[in-house]
Every structure is written in structure tokens, then in C-alpha cells.
Symmetry: C2
Subunit: 477 residues, 2 copies
């Protein structure tokens, strides 16, 4: 482990991260709110970042997977800590502030704030911005913006971008990152304009765009999207949530007019699940809505939960248990590879299903060779085993976390759904952490366990869990 | 697929199965109850079995895995259908009767009978007997008893005995089966004697022995083991439940004085989980019991649920949510390979944990070779992949079944626990299917889904699921 290199990169991340506070600072000036809430963390990050940067000049610039893992894993934690300072400034307890910041940067959207509207506008903008930054991946942004980091750390993107492998549009990593970044920016501008045209204030349009594309789900209103009570706004957000849950490489290619990528297996499976689940949910909800309303609320909620955005237009916790179970299942499906969505990811669910069904026949006829294909290409065994191990670990952590959270006194459904909503980076759960509730009533221990789940869920388990294995830190192994 | 051979074996199974009805028939005579309840199914099985046997003489005696799968999978179903006739005779609806019979032969112990004591003694003995037969595996019994079947169908035992591989004590399959059968018989006699000495009636002692060793859990009392209110009886049952959840090969070797097998990894992991879970449960339950009571009720319930027996000495559904979640988790662990217990099985949980933890490091340092060992031997990759595929499929079926059951109108916790209690062959669940309730209130659809879960859970998924793949039935593939 090249520790000096890791520390040096982390100091650069913190240093550059200080610049991000200029945006809420500007908002604070504009809205005549307290500037110190952002000036203080900005100064702290700039000061600490530059000192550590100077004293930690690495002797070697050799970076392998594990250096990448350490930078991404610890970097995310440091940013969540730095990002919680504005909340602490506004008298929110450190644990709550850390929970809210981690929830932001991991694009989870679980909140400990009961009455959103009570907070200053600059703080709410900061809250939305954390998701927008987290969405595309802070590290990807840094890779794209600062070429010195990009050149040396090919592993960063591999560790960062959720999913299997970044499809190679161009061999150069920096180009890829820049293109994804441009795609993200373009969609951001587009959604702001659309929401503004449809009647949102510019402030609300910016905030909700920040938290739609990042599949984050923070809103500036306690009622979430239900506040606007506008089918048109809901439709635009519905479309952009689905875009947020798509592979951004695919969106980039679509924007360039290359529609053949719509035959992508993951995209088709993603759309198929969305449509099927939406139809089932609509049917289930016919017991309480007439058809038009059922379509409206069901499809929005299914897309919101499956893309792991977490917006609500209706308190789904009042729906039937089968509807709530369906939402719980969709949380684990999540978004596509290379999207901002969380969860296990569509391609993994697809491969797991095909692989395990194939094993049924293989067990009855051992000599059969079962081959799993994706987009007409054979998926190599190493990838399949990585995915099954990932899934196993995901389930084990989910089960263990649920039990630990329940030990803090939370009831069963709330515990199950709180862990589901955090490890999958969804946000709202059921029961005590339902759509009409917040995470404020939970104990500090429960909040820390859930924040841990957001962190490992967002970084695809392995990145963060590696850090807890002693041999990971050995010089050679 | 050698269909004629499959049909011929199935007819033999049904034919020999008719003999089993002599036991409840004798009980009916002894207790002056209706003999037709058992004479009728006996005649039906003998008649149909012998006719089909005669007309289905196979041309070839070649049996491979899939013939073994078909015989075991369909055989179990036929026996459950035949075994439900006595219930139907006593005016229980066909779906309920099928549920109860499948619950018996799969050693699940979920019941649709609300007041057990209302049933005739001969029928209750039949009910317990189905579990005793199912426990060691009807097919194993047939393999052991009827040499003609044993010689030709080495695959039968491999498809039948739960778990990975039957440890080879002797190369000859028949010998192995006979030894396991003798072990089972010996433990049966021993438990009957012990329970009788401790004050149970002979009738109760026989019934509860039948359902302890088989980790079945049916009782002759609605209150289950709580009825006896005897710490001594609870202790004996506690020990025999743990024996029932152990590998019978291990018990056989222990009975022969070979104690070195206590170093077996699975056995140690099994005991470690039991002790740890028992200790945690005792601690959780200190909020409602004093220490002595908490130890008594907690350890019994943990052993009962983890070995998938399902007896109760206390209505655990009144315990805290973390206690109930712990029980739910233990259901999935289940018994050991080659035991009568259900669930995923201890060795699989062990290998899944070790394997997936190893993959964390492998992802950070791809060149590392991660080797998984069991009893100092390297576990081959094929086995590991089979286990991960099994686990994936198990989770997928669990989730899908839970959703389907909830669609019949059952609430979330009841749906989750009903599927957990049936796919893992445990018996009692939580909520509407809790320890103090029965499955009688569920819809017919829900009962059939749950019976299906018992069936596939008992036969380790692949055996039964193969039957639903069209290409399985093709002549060559
Ligand atoms: K979210
Ligand atoms: K059972």
C-alpha cells in the first residue's frame, strides 16, 4: 500500500472540495443568510487540505486497485464529514449532520429533518448540491477536471463508477469522464429549464434537478413532489428519474444519435422491470384509486423507488402490504451500471437470474456447459463469480444490519425497510421511516449503522469493506 | 429421459408406501377408531401401484441424475397426495389435507389444524409418522430396504440426502443407507424411552420422538411442548433436536466412538451459531424473563428454530422484534448436511461467508488466489459456484413467493415469515402464522404456494425445479 500517495490524493480532494462551498456561499449572500455556515468549512478544508498536501508528497506514484479503493472509500467519508459542517453550524447534532451529509453525497436522500421548509435556503441548496455532486461521483468530477489525477489513477474510475466495467467509448479515461460529465451537465440544464417552464420557481427547479438526475431524492418541501400537485411536473421528473437510472454512456450515445444501443440487454431489462412493476402496482392500487390516478401514482412511485430516487407523490406507506413489498423488492434492483442509481443494479439482477436458472439444469445434467450471454457476448466466469459473491455479501450485510438496527429498538418492518432504503441509496422506507416520516426519531447508533450502509452501498461494498481487512493495509501481500 | 424407468420406480414407491398405512391402521384398531381412514388409501396405493408397475416395465435400466431427480421430486409429490387421503376422510378440505400431508413428509410442521386435540389418535399418529418417514427420507428408506432399487440408482441418494455429498463411510451405497437408517432407529428408541421415563404417555412419547428426530415439529397438543411444562422433557427434546440437525454420518461415527469427527468444520460452526444465537436471545429476553427462565426459553427456541424443528415452549411472537428477527434469520441457516433439518444448511452458510469475504480482498488485489477450505481440504470451484447459485435461487424464490403470498391478502410480516417457515421447513412463523396460530386462515392459493415452497425447500430446489424446465424432459439434450 502506497500510503503517502493515498494521503496526498485525499488532501487534494479535500483541497478542491473547499471550492464547492462557493455555491451555497453565493446563495447565502443572495438570500441574506449566514455566510459563515459555508465560509468556515471552506476555510477548514482549504487549510487542512493544503497543509497535508505539502507534507505528504509521495515518493512513488504507483497506484493499483487498492490505492484507488482507499482513495475513493476514505475520500467519500472525508467529504461527508466536511459536508456536515454547515448542518452542525445550524445546530443540528453531529450524528444527525453526518447522517444528512452522507445521505446527500451517497445520493440516498434519507433525511433527519422533519420540517424541511424551516431550514435556510442556502442550506437546502447545499443539501441538494451534495446529491448532485455525489450523483456523478465526486471523484469522477475530479478526474475530469484535474488531469494530473486522471493520468495516474486509471483505477479510480473503475472503483468509482457503479457497476461492472465502463464501456470503452474512447480508450482515454479522461475523455470518457469529460463526456459523461458533459452529458450530466446537459441533462441538468434541460431539466431546470423544463421544470421552470412548468411553473416551479427557479430555486425549486435547480434543487429538484440536482436531486433528480443524481437519483438523490432530497426535496425542498416536506411533502416532496406531492407539494406541486402537477401531473406535468411529475411527468418530467418521471422521465429524468428514468434517465438518472440509465447508463450515462448510453445516454451520451443516444444524444449523439446512436440508437442501436437501445438493444442493450441491461437497458431492455431495466425498462421491462419498470413497465411490469408499474403495471402490477397500478393493478394493486385499483383497490384505492380509479384507473387514471392509479397509473399516475403507481408508475411515478415505481420509477422513483426502482431508480432509487425516493421522491414521493403519495404516502405509499398507506398502500397495501403487497404494494409496499413490491417497492421493497424494487429497491434492491436499483439502477443500471454507470447510472447514478443505487441498489444491486439491473445487470447484476439479470445475470444472477440467468446464471442461477442455468444451474438448475446443470445440476441435473452435470456435463452440460451453461453459458451466460450479455449483449451477445459470453460473460466470463470471473465476472459471474464476482457478481454472486457481491450478491451473497449484499444479503449478509443487509440481514446483519437489519438485526443490529432492530436491537436499537426499532420495529421489524421499519428496520428491514430502513436498511433497504439506505444500503440501496433509496431514502424513504416504511413504517417509522416511511414516506411521511423522517429518520430523526432513530437512535444515534441506528443512524450510524444506516450511514455505514449508505457508504458501502454507494461504493459497491468491496471498495469500503476492503478498508476493514487488516491485510489490505500491509505493504506487500 | 428414461420415462418408463421413472414411472416404474414411482409405481414401486407407491406400492411399498401402501404398507406404511398399516401403522395408523393398527392404532385405529387399538383406539377403536375408524379403520377406513387408512384402509382406503392403503388399498388405493396398492392397487394403482401394482397396476402401473406391471404395465410400465422399462426397456432399459439406465438411470442418470435426471432420472433420479424425477423419481425423488415426483415421488415426494405422489406420497404427499396419497398421504392426504386420511385427512380428507376426516372431512378436511383437499387443499388443507394436501398442505398438512406435504407439511408432514417435508418435515415442515406447518399445520392447518386449529385444535389438535380434537383429532382422532390414529390420525395424529399418522401425522407424526409422516414426519418420521419424511425425516430420513422415504427414498432413503426404500433404497435401504429394497436392494433392487439400491443397486440401480446410485443417483437417488445423491439427489435425496440434503446437502453436498454423502461422506463415504463405505463405498457401497446400500451399506451407508442401512447405517444411517440404523442410527435413526437407535435414536428413535432412545428418545421414546427417555420421554416415557420423564412422564410422557407412551403415545405422546412416540409421537414427539417421531417429530423431534425428523426436525418436523408436529405435536399432539395445540400448545406444543409448552403443554408438558417440564424442564426435563424440554432438555431431552432440546438435545434430540440438536441431534436431528446434525449430520447423521457424524452421529453414526460418534456412536461408534470415533470422536475425532467433532473437529468437523460444519459441526463446529453449527454449535457455534447455536450457542451464540442462544446467548444473544437470552440477553434480548432478559427484558421480560429473569435469567433462568430466559436461558430456558431462549435456548430451546433458538435450537428449535435453527434445527428447523419448530416446537415451541413459549409464544415467541410476543417477544421483541429483534428476537423475532433473530429467529427469522436462524430459519435460513437450518441444519447440517445429511441431517433431517431444512434451511440453506450450515455448511453452505459457512462456505458462502468465507467465499464472499475472500472476494472482498480479491477485488482489491485481483492477482491474489483465494482458496476456500473445509476440514483442511480445498473446496473445488464447481462446488462453490453451485452453492452461490443455490443461494441466489433461494433468495429469488423466497422474495417472489413472499410477494405472491402477500397478493392473497396476507400482511407483510406474516407473508415473509410464512414463506421463511415453509421453504426452510420450519413450521411456525410470525403474525397470522405465528406460534400460537395455524395456517388455517390463509387462502387456498396461499396454502398451495407455501406447500410448493415446502416441497422445493425440502428437496434442495434443483431437484424439483428441474422438473419445470421443458428441456429436462427431452430424450437427449
Ligand atoms: K435516493
Ligand atoms: K419443522
Amino acid at each position: 500500500m502506497n500510503t503517502r500517495l493515498v494521503v496526498n490524493y485525499l488532501s487534494q480532494i479535500v483541497l478542491y472540495f473547499s471550492l464547492v462551498f462557493t455555491i451555497p456561499l453565493a446563495a447565502a449572500i443572495r438570500y441574506h443568510e449566514d455566510v459563515y455556515a459555508f465560509a468556515i468549512p471552506m476555510a477548514v478544508c482549504a487549510f487542512l487540505g493544503s497543509i497535508v498536501y505539502v507534507i505528504s508528497k509521495p515518493e512513488s506514484d504507483v497506484a493499483k486497485y487498492k490505492e484507488g479503493y482507499a482513495i475513493v472509500g476514505i475520500g467519500w467519508l472525508l467529504i461527508a464529514i466536511a459536508g456536515s459542517i454547515p448542518y452542525v453550524y445550524y445546530s443540528i447534532s453531529p450524528v444527525d449532520a453526518f447522517f444528512e451529509a452522507m445521505s446527500g453525497f451517497t445520493t440516498t436522500g434519507a433525511t433527519i429533518i422533519d420540517r424541511i421548509e424551516d431550514l435556510p435556503k442556502s442550506l437546502l441548496l447545499w443539501r441538494s448540491l451534495t446529491q448532485w455532486l455525489g450523483g456523478m461521483g465526486i471523484v469522477v468530477l475530479f478526474v475530469a477536471i484535474f488531469p494530473t489525477l486522471a493520468k495516474k489513477s486509471e483505477t479510480l474510475l473503475q472503483a468509482e463508477v457503479p457497476g461492472l466495467k465502463v464501456e470503452k467509448i474512447k480508450p482515454r479515461l479522461k475523455d470518457t469522464a469529460l463526456r459523461l460529465y458533459a452529458t450530466y451537465m446537459l441533462l441538468t440544464v434541460l431539466e431546470i429549464v423544463l421544470l421552470y417552464i412548468l411553473g416551479m420557481s427557479l430555486y425549486d427547479a435547480v434543487n429538484h434537478t440536482f436531486t433528480t438526475l443524481s437519483t438523490g431524492g432530497f426535496s425542498t418541501h416536506t411533502e416532496s413532489i406531492a407539494y406541486f400537485n402537477s401531473p406535468a411536473i411529475e411527468f418530467v421528473i418521471f422521465i429524468f428519474m428514468i434517465l438518472g437510472g440509465m447508463n450515462f454512456v448510453l445516454i451520451y450515445l443516444l444524444l449523439k444519435g446512436q440508437t442501436k444501443f437501445l438493444r442493450d440487454t441491461e437497458f431492455r431489462f431495466y425498462m421491462a422491470i419498470l413497465l411490469l412493476a408499474g403495471a402490477i402496482m397500478t393493478a394493486i392500487n385499483l383497490e384505492r384509486f380509479e384507473l387514471g390516478e392509479s397509473l399516475r401514482y403507481s408508475f411515478f412511485q415505481v420509477a422513483s423507488i426502482m431508480t432509487t430516487t425516493g421522491y414521493t407523490t403519495f404516502d405509499f406507506d398507506t398502500w397495501s402490504d403487497s404494494a409496499r413489498l413490491l417497492l421493497l423488492m424494487l429497491m434492491f434492483v436499483g439502477g443500471s451500471t454507470g447510472s447514478t442509481g443505487g441498489g444491486i443494479k439491473v445487470v447484476r439482477i439479470y445475470l444472477l437470474t440467468v446464471y442461477s436458472l442455468g444451474q438448475i439444469l446443470k445440476s441435473a445434467e452435470p456435463r452440460t456447459a451453461r453459458i451466460v450471454r450479455l449483449n451477445d457476448e459470453v460473460v466470463d466466469k470471473e465476472t459471474l463469480h464476482n457478481i454472486t459473491a457481491f450478491f451473497t455479501l449484499y444479503v449478509l450485510i443487509f440481514v446483519l444490519s437489519t438485526f443490529l438496527v432492530s436491537l436499537t429498538g426499532l420495529d421489524m418492518i421499519s428496520s428491514i425497510s430502513a436498511v433497504s432504503a439506505t444500503i440501496n441509496n433509496v431514502g424513504p422506507g416504511l413504517g417509522a421511516v416511511g414516506a411521511a416520516e423522517s429518520y430523526s426519531s432513530l437512535s444515534a447508533t441506528a443512524k450510524l449503522i444506516l450511514a455505514f450502509n449508505m457508504w458501502i452501498g454507494r461504493l459497491e461494498l468491496f471498495t469500503v469493506l476492503s478498508l476493514f481487512i487488516p491485510s489490505f493495509w500491509r505493504e506487500r501481500w
